[in-house]
């Protein structure tokens, strides 16, 4: 991905650099050539997955179109879910809402739980990374707690909060906080002694040291944790919502299964996949912007 991004950037530069040398070359063909090249690059990226997608759809269609097959073929999925696809915004009250509302309810829970875990995770990770005693005391406990599956926390949090909404948010928090803590701690522990020496000579106070040295130096590690965390959050929310009910994509899937609307399940899975992918890319993009220049030289 980054490789091809670099190539698309250098391509136009090369052609403009060539222009003054060959003075007789008119500008238009050069530009057309550039667009052609860009189209080519895009095609290289888009065509292969498209071909695979179409092929697998065809195989799926062929397998599932026979009478008595348990799963619907793609053509039937499309026919059944037409309304849901083209009108995601309807709201008939209760949980009878368009997919947009279900997805946005899930995303809100993730946003809350994940923000909480990012803040707590970075704070605790800094503590564990910075203090030997905090590491000795906390690290073994974290290592045990992080292996507990997300859904195992749900009954306990329901008992504690006596409500679905905060419980779901807690499950997201507790699922995604561990990789953030652990990666932040590793990042902080790996801050080169040189940077610490610079801070000591300049006499940065602890708060300045945290903001000006620790966070930037550990940023690549922190973002690795954040990226794993967002993936886990999205995994956990779908499962948690199946159990807590209400509006949300997880319960939408469970509800569709209970009403035997298999096509709706497939459509929902498609959306879950796309949104998970977008969330991951978002954090990756943010990491790229924030950590530019952080790579050691």
């Amino acid at each position: 991905m980054p490789m091809s991004a670099i190539r698309t950037e250098t391509a136009p530069m090369a052609s403009t650099a060539a222009a003054p040398v060959i003075a007789m070359t008119p500008k238009r063909p050069a530009r057309a050539e550039r667009y052609l090249k860009m189209a080519k690059e895009a095609a290289i990226r888009v065509v292969p997955p498209l071909v695979v997608l179409i092929l697998s759809m065809m195989i799926w269609e062929l397998i599932c179109r026979r009478a008595g097959s348990t799963l619907p073929p793609p053509s039937k999925v499309f026919k059944d879910t037409r309304e849901l696809i083209f009108d995601p915004f309807f709201d008939h009250g209760g949980i009878d809402k368009g997919l947009f509302w279900h997805l946005s309810a899930s995303l809100q829970r993730v946003a809350l739980g994940y923000s909480l875990s990012a803040i707590v995770g970075i704070a605790l990770g800094t503590l564990v990374g910075q203090s030997v005693w905090a590491m000795r005391g906390l690290d073994p406990i974290f290592q045990v707690l992080r292996t507990i599956p997300p859904l195992a926390w749900l009954p306990l949090s329901l008992a504690a909060f006596r409500d679905g909404q905060p419980s779901a948010i807690f499950v997201i928090f507790i699922t995604s906080v561990w990789p953030i803590i652990i990666n932040t701690a590793v990042g902080i522990r790996n801050i080169p002694q040189d940077y610490r020496n610079v801070a000591a000579v300049v006499q940065l106070n602890p708060i300045e040291f945290f903001g000006k040295i620790m966070i930037p130096a550990a940023a690549p590690y922190i973002f690795t944790g954040l990226r794993i965390g967002i993936g886990l959050s999205w995994l956990a929310i779908v499962a948690a919502e199946m159990l807590i009910g209400g509006v949300g994509i997880g319960f939408f899937i469970w509800d569709a299964w209970n009403s035997s609307h298999i096509s709706e399940i497939i459509l929902a899975l498609f959306y879950v996949g796309i949104i998970g992918f977008v969330l991951d890319r978002l954090i990756a993009g943010l990491a790229k912007v924030v950590t530019r220049g952080t790579a050691p030289n």
Partner: protein, 264 residues
């Protein structure tokens, strides 16, 4: 000579478990204001430890460092260090790297505009103002070291500590940078303590050369005055008798009397 920086009976030993290694033994050294002193010795003799002690980054076991008759035992901008591997923060631009120190040291005494001007002034001193918006990864090794020097100078240190500042550079860049440091020393009159393992560098730059014996328990073996007038010119010195004599003395010390023993 009026003592400006004084290393008073410094011993340093590192303890790991039951084993104690004595690194430095009874180091006494007095440096006058504006003096350029080099410490030379084989690798592993503890010369970097000594510099870290002066910088306050390492504690002494016994003895102390006095700067203007006051004990210093923690790091501070009055003893700015130019690190061997430049240690610029890669996420900051050249300007921001220098400004970081300036903002801390002159937080009260200079206004925002003055701090900006002072940062640029120091970048100009090392001829790096043109690259002020570049990141360390975008400039060469010699340029990084120039910025490192600017960062240290900008803190207006009482003593400038150079930890093998030219060690990681190629020979041509090193010569160029040595000339720059000589010019800066001439112009600003800083007190400089430099660690080096390069005999020519030591003789060319220093007023005095402190030669250290091999560790463990390294001590100051000999102190050599370099009786060469400043400004010094590299080419003229190549045939200068006093220069060659000094060079000879240091070489004899390092390669005859205190030859490097691998086991140490």
């Amino acid at each position: 000579m009026h003592p400006y920086l004084k290393l008073d009976h410094i011993d340093k030993s590192f303890t790991r478990g039951a084993a104690t290694t004595e690194v430095l033994k009874d180091i006494n050294l007095t440096i006058g204001k504006g003096e350029y002193v080099s410490i030379i010795g084989h690798s592993g003799c503890g010369k970097s430890t000594l510099l870290n002690i002066v910088a306050g980054l390492t504690e002494t076991t016994t003895g102390c460092v006095l700067l203007e008759n006051r004990e210093v035992n923690s790091p501070g901008p009055d003893r700015a260090v130019v690190f061997q591997n430049h240690s610029l923060l890669p996420w900051l631009t050249v300007y921001e790297n220098v400004r970081l120190g300036v903002d801390k040291v002159f937080a009260r005494s200079k206004s925002r505009g003055e701090r900006d001007a002072w940062t640029m002034h120091n970048l100009n001193l090392v001829q790096m103002a043109h690259a002020k918006d570049k990141r360390p990864s975008e400039i060469s090794g010699g340029m990084k070291q120039r910025v490192g020097i600017a960062r240290a100078l900008a803190m207006e240190p009482k003593v400038l500590l150079l930890d093998e500042p030219f060690g990681a550079l190629d020979a041509l860049t090193r010569a160029h940078l040595q000339d720059s440091v000589m010019a800066l020393h001439q112009k600003l009159g800083n007190t400089i303590l430099m660690i080096t393992h390069d005999v020519d560098e030591a003789v060319l730059l220093s007023d005095r050369i402190v030669m250290m014996t091999n560790g463990p328990s390294a001590r100051i073996g000999e102190v050599l005055e370099v009786p060469l007038a400043r400004p010094r010119r590299r080419l003229e010195l190549a045939t200068n008798v006093a220069y060659l004599k000094c060079r000879q003395r240091v070489l004899e010390f390092l390669y005859e009397r205190h030859r490097f023993v691998e086991a140490a």
